[in-house]
Amino acid sequence: MTFVRDNMAPLMFGGLVVFMLIGYPAAFSLAAVGLFFGFIGIELGLIVPDYLGNLTYQLYGIISNDLLLAIPFFTFMGAILERCGLAEDLLDSIGQLFGPVRGGLSYAVIFVGAILGAITGTVAASVIAMGVISVPIMMKYGYSTRHTMGVIAASGTITQVIPPSLVLVVLADQLGRSVGDMYAGAIGPSIIQIALFCAWVFIVSVIWPKDVPALPPEARTLRGWALWRKCLRGIIPSLGLIFLVLGTIFLGLATPTEAGALGAVGALLLAGMHRTLSWPLVYQGMSTTMRLTAMVVYILIGARTFSLVFQGVGGKEWIEHLLAALPGGQFGFLVFVNILIFVIAFFLDFFEIAFILIPLLSPVADKLGIDLIWFGVLICANIQTSFMHPPFGFALFYLRGITPPSVKTADIYWGAIPWLVLQVILVAILIIWPESVTYWISKAPPVDPNTVKFEIQIPESPPPLNLQ
């Protein structure tokens, strides 16, 4: 009994692994571990029965969390954009623009992936929209299957790092940092990532030119002004949406949640402009959004139940003790955490990692003096790889779902690997060069409270109401 009492936290962690591996839905397995060990803890006198009553407040905290509301909004926006015709316009025009260059279609996919990423926050929307359009074209003009699969999956996952990414919103919530800072921190890494991807396409076009041929002249139907007009037709509404979502956040006009809602309404308008807006489209979007949101928030409910009890039995101290003993200080901790997450991402999906692991790791990171924004962006870039891991990566799943059966699953997996390596390089760059993240975060100059003066001006016309 004393053994159990002294080792409650590690036992509970082991219980977590076992319960999760059974394969019952994660939300319930998590809550079950929490409550099971909660009752053992009460029996052993480690926690008082009233402690579990805190669960009610945790639950209420989840459903009244304004930031989590961004999950349905961004998902809904993605679901509408996926099929509204914007991606088609962009890929078609930019593809023709870059077409004459070797690897041009690949560059086009990367740029369109980046633009879609800056509009929406979900991977599925990007990968599906780009895959449906690009796969047939790239195959037709002789791009190698593996390269095609890799570039589309990878470009679709750029969405994860480029603001307004849903991952960054959830991480900001879990780390207790502002979403705006998180987004600012992700600008540098996004640029580095796009540069890395383009560099790889260039390398491929030099070493294996047959894999990425230039478009033959007869495929380039649009020229001159007609081509530019088509490009603008795709890009102008995109910029509008980017402003509606990102612009309003960075200018401080809207909260990330409201920006998500504005973006969703913008996507509906855009679908209307493309004449693809229909009730089945909207209802299907509502329905997938509802199911994803319910699923994700239930995981959070389970994870909170788990962490409440885990903290009650001293889990936080145990983890801190364990991780603080790692050699190498900050650097050692970061390398360890990134390898851990890279491996765990094979088994857990992003939301489980964010809700279970991050609350355990962030206090330690904070204690080691690691900037939590940097830490969050780093983890975000790392988790991005989880979308590309064969065989469970979501981006690969989506690609499998939309490519013809003639494409072998093995080709999708092998195609993903070079891009996976590029993402690992990105993570390494971010660890070694933290300024790539922190450079973009505006540092408010410290204000000396003694120098602040309040001046009240009496306006001549009635003053505008401030409703904030």
């Binding site: 591996l21 394969g23 019952y24 839905p25 994660a26 939300a27 319930f28 397995s29 809550a31 079950a32 409550l35 579990l52 009553g53 669960l55 009610t56 639950l59 209420y60 459903i63 009244s64 969390n65 509301l69 349905p72 909004f73 809904f76 006009l253 809207a254 949640t257 409201e258 920006a259 998500g260 809602a261 504005l262 969703a264 309404v265 209802y283 509502m286 997938t288 959004t289 509802m290 199911r291 994803l292 949101t293 319910a294 699923m295 928030v297 239930y298 088994f347 857990l348 992003f350 939301f351 469970f392 979501f394 799943f397 989506y398 016309s461 009635p462 109401l465 401030n466 409703l467 904030q468």
Partner: protein, 207 residues
């Protein structure tokens, strides 16, 4: 005898499914409504304030002023309505999501297991994980709701909404989830006996 009992249970399962289909539809609509309300909140707040700066025409101005006053009095209610709807999406929609078998699993072993083993995992998981959790959470949240109901609690924000409906959503949501658990349990036991074919195989959900 056993035959009749099984049929009765399957009928119960169908009734539960139909109830949660309805709540699922409600949750679907809440997605759209929450989105529109939130977008409108942001647009009105900044749009009207912006117009107010620009306007010098008295009639136009007082019309705006009127609109703003109305909005000002109801802003908190509208802001709170957003997350009330969010609570509805999650708590009323999750049982329907369970019915569609779309709650994410760690499918490392589950993916390799035979259909019979999967049925057993689901049956045992429902009995030992899902149902007890729902019962405990209903127990916690129900009395909490009663407290709120007894004092007719309202939001601490000026012009905010009454609080107990959203607190009621918690026990109701968990009760619906428990019901759906019972329905899934019946379906899986019937499937083990070869009397039922599951419609929704587990697939990792789209994100």
């Amino acid at each position: 005898m056993a035959e009749a009992a099984l049929n009765a249970f399957l009928k119960l399962s169908r009734i539960i499914d139909r109830i949660n289909d309805q709540f699922g539809t409600i949750a679907n609509f809440l997605v759209l409504f929450a989105c529109l309300v939130s977008a409108a909140n942001a647009a009105i707040r900044y749009g009207l304030n912006g117009l107010l700066y620009l306007s010098h025409n008295v009639a136009f101005f007082s019309a705006l002023q009127l609109g703003l006053t109305w909005y000002g009095n109801n802003a908190n209610a509208l802001l709170e309505a957003q997350w009330y709807m969010f609570a509805g999406i999650v708590l009323l929609g999750a049982p329907f999501t369970l019915k569609l078998n779309e709650h994410v699993r760690v499918d490392l072993l589950y993916g390799m297991a035979s259909p019979r083993i999967r049925l057993w995992i689901d049956i045992l998981g429902t009995i030992f994980f899902l149902l007890p959790i729902c019962v405990i959470l209903i127990y916690f949240t129900w009395f909490w709701f009663l407290d709120s109901w007894a004092i007719n609690e309202t939001s601490s924000n000026a012009g905010g909404l009454i609080r107990w409906p959203v607190k009621l959503l918690l026990p109701v949501g968990f009760a619906l989830m428990a019901l759906q658990g019972v329905s899934e349990l019946i379906k899986r036991v019937a499937a083990l006996m070869g009397r039922y074919t599951l419609h929704h195989q587990y697939e990792a959900p789209v994100q």
